[in-house]
Symmetry: none
Subunit: 206 residues, 2 copies
DNA sequence: TGAAGATTCGGGTTGTGTTCGGTAGAACGG
DNA sequence: CCGTTCTACCGAACACAACCCGAATCTTCA
């Protein structure tokens, strides 16, 4: 792993590592502050940033609890590679899935998000699909195709005008485009051109 | 892959590569400017062009964040972009975004879904976060960390028992875990251990 | 309960990246 | 020969991340 740490962050990290090496326990923030010539608040912030970057782990409100997860001077500095994978750690809501570190499966990202030449991504604006839990700002992964099955969510050009994301139904020889928002009415377009169907949703936080 | 770079661009690229090799971190634009005998604005533009050509990658507005993707002096150019990419075709709901095939941006999948050693994925079971549009069966991308800011969605072990996904609030010295489902009540756990915070959601269709 | 230590609040300063609005020369086609 | 397009160049100002701190809480634990 290669972490983008700043000069100062590396120095703080080194100090915590070395102190831990020498004393078997983390230094206090004040000790670190004195050694590095700044205030403990500053150290606190460095440590917080280091934690956010995944270089250390702490127990909040616990003294001397900084654990080093990343050695800034270790060799394996080569930026990693190829198809990114994510460990899939189980199911959440009951049980303690994260404990079971044993059989963590690593799934390539491409198994979670469909990719390929006939896929593309659109950013959603508006809340017309909100009841299908597709929110303003989400990214939708679309498979390029010109037909759809009933009930699928499609990207369609309606009446040569507008591109929209709606549920598609073919009923009694006419097409109904159904938004997933009870304040919006379905439309029954004369001319409709399907550009693709929804295969995935991606949302980012923060 | 073979990139058409200009003489100057190659020199800039070499400098960034060598400095990174030597210092483990990117130089600042000013350092590069001095070394190459021109102003930092000039360097900035070179780097921008290098980024457009795919030779480097940056975090905008972040110091010393130039990562080299392409070595001008290495022979066998295995395209380092085994990173799957998706074309991002614009915004949907109005206009005709898909027509504008001109400036389709290709974004690496890793820009849409955060990845790295400190990320993992959980499958959501249940509807307790449904009003945040996280549905049963969705995958959530979690960043491993033991603290959270107010309002963030966290994975937490509550009272040494249960792992849940909830919104986190620290109020008056106690923690409130707020489900996003009006039929569920918030909980005020005595002991809580944060395992990570929500950074992304992925949903698959079909 | 008191002391040690961690954390928050609400500021401040500095280092870098970025934008704005230009100049100059080289290459090219009409 | 002129206009256009390209690369390379720059100073000044701005924007924002990183870094910094004192004082006042808050938490833990002996």
């Amino acid at each position: 792993m290669f972490l983008m740490l700043t000069e100062k962050q590396i120095r703080v990290l080194r100090f915590f590592r070395d102190y831990r090496q020498a004393h078997g326990i983390s230094p206090t923030l004040e000790e670190a502050a004195e050694a590095l010539g700044c205030s403990k608040i500053t150290i606190f912030e460095h440590v917080k940033n280091l934690e956010e970057k995944g270089a250390v782990r702490r127990d909040p409100m616990k003294a001397r609890s900084v654990a080093i997860l990343y050695d800034p001077d270790s060799e394996s500095h080569e930026p990693p590679d190829m198809i990114p994978e994510l460990p899939i750690a189980g199911t959440i809501a009951a049980g303690r899935p994260i404990e079971a570190v044993e059989h963590i499966e690593r799934v390539p990202l491409t198994d979670l998000v469909p990719t390929g030449d006939d896929f593309y991504v659109l950013r959603v604006s508006g809340k017309s699909m909100i009841e299908d839990h597709i929110d303003d700002g989400d990214f939708v992964v679309i498979k390029r195709q010109s037909t759809a099955r009933n009930g699928e969510v499609v990207v369609a050009i309606v009446d040569d005008e507008e591109a929209t994301l709606k549920r598609y139904y073919l009923e009694n020889g006419r097409v109904r485009l159904q938004p997933a928002n009870s304040s919006l009415e379905p439309t029954f377009p004369d001319r409709i051109e399907i550009r693709g169907v929804l295969k995935g949703v991606i949302r980012q936080f923060r």
